[in-house]
Amino acid sequence: MTKEEMQNNSKTPKEAEEYRQQVVIPLLQHRGPICEPLVDVEDNLLIGQKIGECDSDYAAQVHSSISGHIIAIEERPHPSCVKKPSIIIESNGTNGSINFKTCTNPSKEYIFDTLQDSGIVELDGYPVFNTLTSKKIIDTVLVNLTYPSDANSNCTSDNIPKIIEGMKLLMKASDAEGVFIVNKTDGQLSSSIRSSLNGDNIKIINTKRNYIPLMNNLLAHDMTGIRISNRDTPADAGVMISSAYGALAVSKAVLEGIPPIEVNVTVSGAVKNPMINTVSIGTSFKDAIQSSGGYLGEPGKIIMNGILSGTAQATDEVPVIKSTTEITVQSIDEVVRDKPGPCIHCGRCVDVCPVNILPGRIASFSDIGRYDECSKLHVHSCVDCGLCDYVCPSSRHILQLIRFARTALIRLFNIPEEKESPNLKLGCESCETPCDIGTTSVTQGGTK
């Protein structure tokens, strides 16, 4: 593992040790229930030791990423949903780890067993094991390399053979064909994959569009032509979608026995030395940014997973989690503070919408509280790509209003016991998952 670190990161192990003195590992890093801690305060831990588990259909175990002892188990800021119970581990400065079981030619059962234990989570939050064992027949494994944050961080030339290995393991586990999805404009990536394939039965398909993890259903639809309802997953179309990160984690877990304890993170934007870092899970954003030379000027916004669809962070104390691929820092001047104007019905949002809805219209209805109309206009089909908001000439907060309407609709039908208006409990919708922090005002591009 140290070797791996050396390849991606020009730091000496000693330096790397310094910035991971303390890690905060959230017990929720996937879609599903929060894991139960398996350890207690003051316990000593080794790298790779399992520290959290839950018994649910959607389960992803949590492992310790450093060796040291636990100083607390408490609620800490989480990068995608305000505060979640986390395990705080302080390093003891050694590299002691559990015995990682390596395997060169794993059987199908072995793959399933290791994946169940390793708790690999795809970038959209779904555990890989869960997708493999859902009772649906999977005939294609797609590895999506069009998500810019993920492709930048993980598709380095060293990693491509490993990604192919991981993909083959997934193909073996599900008896499926393999296809790489690469953006048309990214010719370099396609050719470097093609040269590493050596005649394996894996296709490369070029697409015009970049697919973010939330657009997995759309990707499956575009590849197979099967329409998938927004309540279903790509598995319903016989497709399993993995990312470069997911394939890499699978190959590491199965072949080297290492559960996901590190992620490759691109630190970009207003930092002194933008680079791809390999950081332990649980490292705070502050430390990750520090290892890229620190802030350039005063930071105005810290964004996880891409400037177009990522989540802005309220603090830089939040930890790096399994699905973190990019940390972008914006300086204060770069922060968008446009004032929304009236909709001029130019239809630019309609032109860019990947799922064929009318984003501007939905936003206008959401603005006046007509959530019923939003529902009729298919607000639930939205995949949160943020393109409509990006192109809007009137700077309307289309994505925020769409999320607002969606949460309002969910709460309208879900809170029978509370007698107050559901409008009062709506948050700012900045996070990926709705929270109960009690923010009552809608922050529209302003400060916190």
């Binding site: 759309l218 639809h221 329409r227 998938i228 309802s229 927004n230 005063e298 930071p299 105005g300 916004k301 891409g306 400037i307 177009l308 669809s309 990522g310 989540t311 802005a312 962070q313 309220a314 603090t315 830089d316 914006q330 968008v336 446009d338 104007g341 009236p342 001029i344 019905h345 130019c346 239809g347 630019r348 309609v350 032109d351 990947p354 799922v355 064929n356 809805i357 009318l358 501007g360 206009l377 298919h378 089909s381 949160d384 943020g386 393109l387 908001d389 990006y390 192109v391 809007c392 000439p393 009137s394 700077s395 994505l399 925020q400 999320r403 700012c428 900045s430 922050t443 400060t447 916190k448």
Partner: protein, 296 residues
């Protein structure tokens, strides 16, 4: 350290309403300058009076209703210039002044201001002026430049495309500028390509089918209609298919009016005007089907 939290996206493309409006105004100004060259200073006076009237009307209304002043977004300016461009150079100056007032006050602001208009303010104002003072706005002016001296590139009767010598209204002086400008707007994606393409194709195909002389059909006004008037955002449908149908309807109405009255200039304006009226219905019936909608 104070961090901002907001929803994605955390970046904007940088194309604003202002950018779109002022690019359109740049094209209209180019056409206006050409008109001044052809018709003389009376054209300049008309454009100035109309623009000033439109801007003052907007400022007055926004002051009275205590709204934020939005002169800078350029909508009032573009309405003002357009109204002047839709008139012949012989009209008395009070007509564009009243027309601009009507367009901005009653067609734009009475219906909710920018983005909420039912009809294109410039066309509605033109219809109002034409109805009220038909004799004064009648196109009778003939360019003071002889057509023979401007037979550019020996294109024969088609030289009018570059430099219309027999223009009636100010806007008709140069199809060429409008086409270049319109294509630039499409290239920059400031206007949609669907409406112009289906409008032009429908008009030309129908004219050929009916055996009309294309030099009558293809006028400066047609291109003003195609690139500037029909693509006015608030009055055209937002759905993709709707925009095709809207352009098609504009084309059909142009040919219908023009074939019967043999006045293809006025035909474009009435065609867009009536297409505006049905645009909401087109939009309603062409709602796209979302990708994830599963057939029951």
């Amino acid at each position: 350290m104070k961090l901002s939290v907001s929803n994605p996206p955390h970046i904007k493309q940088g194309v604003t309403v202002k950018t779109i409006m002022w690019s359109k105004i740049a094209i209209l100004v180019a056409v206006g300058l050409m008109a001044v060259f052809v018709f003389g200073l009376s054209a300049l006076a008309m454009i100035l009076v109309s623009t000033i009237s439109a801007v003052l009307t907007e400022a007055g209304i926004q002051k009275m209703t205590k709204q934020e002043l939005t002169i800078k977004d350029g909508d009032a300016v573009s309405i003002g210039i357009l109204i002047a461009l839709l008139l012949p150079s012989t009209v008395p100056l009070w007509i564009p002044a009243i027309g601009a007032f009507f367009g901005v006050a009653l067609v734009k602001h009475a219906f909710g201001g920018l983005g909420s208009t039912l009809f294109n303010p410039a066309i509605a104002a033109w219809v109002f002026m034409n109805m009220s003072w038909g004799a004064l706005t009648k196109v009778s002016s003939v360019s003071h430049i002889g057509s023979a001296s401007y037979n550019i590139l020996f294109l024969g009767k088609y030289s009018d495309i570059i430099f219309e010598s027999g223009a009636g209204m100010l806007a008709e002086v140069s199809s060429f500028i409008l086409v270049i400008g319109g294509l630039y707007l499409i290239y920059k994606k400031y206007i949609d390509w669907r409406i112009p393409s289906s409008f032009v194709v429908t008009t030309v195909v129908m004219a050929l089918l009916l055996g009309e002389d294309l030099s009558y059909v293809i006028t400066g006004m047609l291109f003003l209609g195609v690139f500037i008037l029909a693509t006015e955002t608030a009055t055209s449908p937002i759905t993709k298919n709707g925009r095709f149908i809207y352009g098609l309807l504009c084309g059909v109405l142009t040919i219908m009016y023009g074939f019967i009255s043999s006045n293809y200039v006025v035909a474009v304006l009435y065609a867009v005007f009536f297409a505006n009226a049905v645009a909401p219905f087109i939009e309603k019936n062409t709602s796209p089907k979302p990708v994830d909608e599963v057939a029951l």
